[in-house]
């Protein structure tokens, strides 16, 4: 017997487990994403701790520079600052297109939503591809010292998060092209958008601390 028939038979009473008690003032799905981002922020924090530790006790510090500061990365290695800078521009732009997609959805502009989503995914893929090419040409690998381990660890961790974000966005894009989502029901797109902006924020922090400063 179907659930509707059962309910009709019993005078419309609901059967089954009761609705869960919601003690938070924000939606449970949003809370779930926020807690997940919190754990990921702590994970990045641990990697940054390792990075700052390695940088402070960098064995290249014995090299005397004109400013008498430690050399980072140790000679003769160099970080590809320009390529990473281009990657940063790509990822920041993808945040703009993601925001555009959400705003379009909330205004009922489905074409804008789809375009924004597709552009965000393409730029995310471009970011990952550029990073893989950067890894191939960087000139050192993980066995070349602690700085290299920290470099690949931090950037690789971020790359993994970009991949997760792309999976979420692709799922959302498939649903969007199937006609899901509306200005009233946009959580399925908003949550991947929040995660994508978190990934972007993390990359800005990684890029500035690792490559620029």
């Amino acid at each position: 017997m179907s659930a509707h028939a059962e309910a009709a038979l019993h005078g419309g009473e609901h059967h089954g487990p009761p609705a869960a008690n919601q003690s938070s003032r924000i939606a449970s799905v949003t809370l779930g994403m926020f807690l997940f981002i919190g754990t990921e922020a702590m994970l990045f924090g641990s990697f940054f701790t390792a990075y700052f530790f390695v940088r402070v006790v960098n064995p290249g510090a014995t090299i005397i520079t004109p400013e008498k500061w430690a050399v980072w990365p140790p000679l003769p290695y160099e970080f590809p600052v320009f390529v990473a800078g281009v990657n940063t521009c790509i990822l920041v732009t993808s945040s703009f297109t993601m925001h555009w997609a959400l705003q379009s959805l909330k205004r009922g502009n489905r074409a804008g939503m789809k375009a924004g989503l597709v552009l965000t995914i393409l730029m995310g893929l471009a970011f990952l591809l550029t990073q893989m090419i950067e890894y191939a040409h960087v000139g050192f690998n993980t066995s070349d010292g602690a700085f290299a381990s920290v470099f690949f660890g931090l950037t690789g961790l971020h790359g993994a998060h970009v991949l997760i974000g792309l999976i979420l966005l692709t799922t959302a894009a498939v649903r969007a092209f199937r006609g899901h989502y509306s200005p009233e029901h946009h959580h399925g797109l908003e949550l991947p958008g929040i995660y994508w902006h978190f990934v972007d924020v993390m990359w800005i922090v990684v890029y500035v601390t690792m490559y620029l400063l």
Binding site: H99, F198, D200
Partner: protein, 79 residues
Amino acid sequence: MRNPFRDEAAAFRLVLLTIGYFALIVAAAAVSRWVGLAMFVVLTAFVVRRLMSAPTRPTSGAQRADVEDTPAEKPGVES
């Protein structure tokens, strides 16, 4: 402190603020390391002060579950 990831618009605003924050630090560091450090300290103090003084939203009542766990007391029964 309000959740910076409470919705997509807030998260996007955080991206822009992060860019501005680090852009100022990098620009200052390009002048001199000490200027960069000073800019970092000033900006971080500003952000912390802003977060500490941000008004908190009033908490709304929790949504009660559909099922009461505690059975109602029968009249005449001592607790």
